[in-house]
Point group: C2
Chain length 124, copies 2
């Protein structure tokens, strides 16, 4: 009866790798119209995150790879986390999205403030 | 009793001008930790919007000024608009924020999905 991250999250998450060029992330954001790219390792564990903000603030600084701009201390959520707790987490850290991970840190989905805002809109 | 855009919006909005260099918007986003820059004319009317996404997808394309990357058909809200209607608008257009304007299109504030998401979090 409590809405959890697992019920709200997008399960098909596009991910990046640290060695990917920044231009690859830019192309993904352009094609998919979203702003969040979790970075994973060979075991699909979340090891970083890149958002449109990271790319925007890197302009003119000569950065090449996602490893140079990604945030490594990633704030995440669990599937059974109540969505209001997720919303407070976003507000507390000033971020717009959290990868949802399992007990071993492997990516299960993603929840953004856009997804949470939709709950207030109540759908079309 | 109905929460309106006017009650949720941020009133102190940082704005840009079309002739501003993209690097100026990038610097603002870096300093302020946000993603939305309404573009206004001499009368403070909203004539465009630039987000981190616009800057991110412009990398490597040789763009110089905000006029080259801004969205000119701006979706806006009014102060007396119920916040659930604003949330549906964001969802419908796949955007994360709306400038709030008066009857003459002049900027009064801004509401983003982060602000709406905070309502679900209920504050700390
Ligand atoms: C302070 S936020 C503000 C801008 C924007 N709303 C965003 O989330 O990108 C920008 C920084 O937060 C980082 N960030 C975003 N989501 C994160 C998350 N779930 N965990 C850790 N850092 C995150 C980004 O990598 C970026 O460096
Ligand atoms: C389709 S959205 C998806 C990414 C992101 N969440 C955002 O809002 O930027 C990206 C595009 O929407 C545009 N946009 C954002 N807010 C807008 C608004 N209130 N009215 C019109 N276009 C807007 C941006 O200028 C950008 O070109």
């Amino acid at each position: 009866r409590i809405i959890t991250a697992g019920a709200v999250m997008t399960r098909e998450v596009v991910v990046g790798r640290p060695e990917d060029p920044i231009t690859k992330a830019a192309r993904i954001f352009a094609e998919k119209n979203f702003d969040h790219l979790p970075i994973v390792d060979d075991e699909n564990r979340v090891i970083g995150i890149v958002t449109s903000w990271d790319i925007a603030v890197s302009v003119g600084k000569g950065k090449q790879k996602l490893s140079e701009i990604m945030t490594r201390q990633v704030i995440t959520a669990r599937e059974d986390e109540p969505i209001d707790a997720v919303a407070r987490k976003l507000d507390k850290f000033g971020i717009s999205g959290v990868p949802v991970v399992d007990a071993r840190g492997r990516l299960r989905g993603i929840v953004t403030s856009d997804d949470i805002s939709k709950l207030i809109g109540g759908g079309r």
